[in-house]
């Protein structure tokens, strides 16, 4: 015993395995430490941070006004004054991509927020109250899940007219069911635990129990699903731009720059390539962070 270093009780709650395959280093030190030691997750986080900074700085970084056509420099290859080339109107692709980052990331993040909030609300209420409430909410969830998402999204945007706000709402409101289900399962599992009964005995109101005691435990599940949603939302906007229902020109978004550039794939590959690269990096970053979080909280959790 003397040779064994004195260590604090492992916060993860899992005893160290006696032999065989060694668990990833740092398993004893909690989720944050595990995350930070995961190189891929860290890379993803840095990329995310870079994108958020660029989006915030946005137009100030752009060498040219994104809407300014340079009629003499149509479809120029990358190089010289235009590191990412120009598009069919002579607009600088780099400037457009920089300015577009704001709205694309905003759509990604805000629609994720919408879906998370809705999902948590529905899942918590269903899991906590059970019974008829649960039944009704789960029926509603089934209906939303049964709707072919893209069909409804296209119908909604075509009928009401596309706008950034509507994009955020419709992408968010069609994406909450999986989150709701996950949260419901967690809440169901938690609400019968001893500590909840104990808190209830002290006379705490339902709301207090939910907010102070249940939600914090549900957070890991939510966060992981959230990061994956962001990438999907950005891609959905790109697809909608292809149909003419995404962010409306002249406001640039990664999606509509890619869509506009699709006619010139053979002639001017750079117009679609660079915003596509941004989409790829952003989605990858969010996914790496999501995976890292999942591994950090519970390497064996399957989501």
């Amino acid at each position: 015993m003397a040779s064994r270093p004195l260590d604090l009780a492992p916060r993860s709650g899992r005893p160290p395995s006696p032999g065989g395959a060694s668990p990833p280093a740092g398993v004893h030190r909690g989720p944050w430490a595990r995350f930070v030691r995961n190189p891929r997750a860290l890379a993803g986080a840095w990329i995310m941070f870079a994108f958020v900074t660029v989006a915030a700085a946005g137009p100030r970084l752009a060498p040219f006004p994104p809407a300014a056509p340079h009629v003499l420099d149509i479809l120029r290859a990358p190089g010289g004054a235009y590191p990412m080339g120009t598009d069919n109107l002579g607009r600088d692709v780099l400037s457009r991509v920089l300015v577009a980052s704001r709205v694309s990331l905003a759509i990604g993040v805000l629609s994720m927020v919408v879906s998370i909030v809705a999902g948590v609300l529905v899942g918590t209420l269903a899991g906590f109250f059970g019974g008829h409430v649960d039944g009704a909410l789960m029926r509603a969830t089934d209906v939303v899940l049964a709707i072919p998402v893209f069909f409804l999204t296209v119908a909604f945007l075509a009928l009401f007219g596309p706008s950034v706000g509507r994009l955020i709402w419709i992408i968010g409101l069609t994406a909450w069911p999986p989150t709701a289900r996950l949260v419901r399962v967690e809440v169901l599992a938690l609400r019968s635990r001893d500590f909840v009964t104990a808190v209830r005995a002290t006379g705490a109101s339902n709301a207090r129990i939910i907010v102070r005691h249940l939600l914090p435990n549900v957070v890991p599940v939510i966060v992981i699903s959230a990061t994956l949603r962001v990438g999907l939302a950005i891609l959905t906007e790109a697809g909608l731009s292809f149909l003419g229902l995404g962010v409306q020109p002249p406001q640039p978004s990664w999606g509509n720059i890619i869509a506009d550039g699709r006619e010139y794939l053979g002639l001017a590959w750079w117009v679609s390539f660079f915003p596509g690269l941004c989409v790829f990096l952003a989605v990858m970053a969010f996914n790496l962070v999501g995976d890292g979080l999942r591994d950090a909280f519970d390497p064996r959790l399957q989501i």
């Binding site: 209906v143 891609l235 149909l243 996914n287």
Partner: protein, 317 residues
């Protein structure tokens, strides 16, 4: 089992009504007057709008319209605003293309996902696993239309190997596989790219789980022959649920079909839905959404039945 099936089939009905009710609500709330849309611009000043509206049945109270539309839809009498043919005709014409594309995409995805997942699980963090992960990332972070157009550029424009438009040679009828397989190659690849990562990930973790079970470790320590037998057993048991997951991926394929059909000029359900929405063809919007919803619900049912078949111990409350 039979009782379960019947119960689930009955549950389809409120689901489809839920979907159509939501769609109908959207149509009602949408701004703009679809009647104006149907009249050519030169005629707008003179045309008798009230008569048009009456012809289209749009001057009746809303609940009446909904019930009427629903009953007309299911008896195949609901007529499209654009060409006044029953919407079910056009959907019936478009459905084979979408179903064929979906079926081949699912088949291709399954055929690719299982071996990849297998190798990845057996040698985690190895070369195959890493490339599969990278490939997965590509799949879920590239816009499908971009990928499709790149494929067209390479295989049609540069190499001239594959056709880029249509589901079959012009003028031919029917969907004989020998004739149309070339038209399906690129669209299927594009569709599969979207769902392959999901399936591979699921299959991989399912296999990893199975492989780390005690009895497998015990078998490992016992020797080669026993290991091989147990391996096959593990593979079969953990991969079968993966097949049922395929059915759950149908909604994603339907969503993706909208874009794929437009790029490859495939006369399917997705394109029909989009053109209906863009031209305010309310009956067609309702019909395509209802049919697509029905497909989703049926595929969910098939997945659940699959689970049930594989694990009779599951109780459903």
């Amino acid at each position: 089992m039979a009782a379960y099936l019947v119960r689930r089939l009955l549950a389809l009905v409120p689901l489809v009504f839920g979907i159509t009710a939501i769609t109908f609500a959207l149509l009602v709330l949408a701004p703009g007057d679809p009647v104006l849309f149907l009249i050519p611009p030169e005629q707008r000043g003179t045309a008798d709008l009230a008569r048009f509206r009456h012809e289209l049945g749009m001057d009746r109270p809303l609940p009446v319209q909904y019930v009427a539309m629903m009953s007309e839809l299911f008896t195949g009498r609901l007529r499209s605003f654009s060409d006044r043919r029953p919407t079910t005709h056009q959907v019936a014409e478009a459905l084979p293309t979408t179903l064929i594309l979906t079926a081949t995409s699912l088949a291709l995805t399954g055929a690719l996902a299982l071996p990849i997942a297998f190798v990845s699980a057996v040698r985690p963090y190895g070369a195959v696993d890493h490339s599969a992960t990278l490939f997965s990332l590509l799949g879920i972070s590239l816009p499908t239309f971009w990928f499709g157009l790149v494929l067209i550029y390479i295989f049609t424009e540069q190499l001239g190997l594959l056709p880029a438009s249509g589901i079959r040679p012009t003028g031919t009828a029917g969907y004989s596989p020998l004739v149309i397989w070339r038209y399906l190659v690129m669209p299927t690849l594009v569709q599969a790219l979207g769902i392959l990562p999901v399936l591979v990930r699921y299959a991989r973790s399912s296999l990893l789980d199975a492989l780390s079970q005690d009895y497998v470790r015990v078998a490992r320590s016992k020797g080669l022959a026993e290991r091989a037998v147990l391996f096959k057993h593990v593979a079969r048991n953990s991969l079968l649920p993966v097949v049922t997951i395929l059915a759950l991926l149908l909604p994603f394929l339907l969503s993706g079909s909208v874009i794929v059909e437009s790029i490859f000029a495939l006369p399917g359900l997705g394109r029909l839905a989009v053109s209906a929405a863009l031209s305010r063809d309310y009956p067609m919007v309702l019909t395509t959404t209802a049919i697509a919803g029905l497909l989703v619900v049926i595929s969910n049912l098939l997945a659940d039945v699959g689970y049930l078949y594989l694990d009779p111990r599951i109780r459903h409350g």
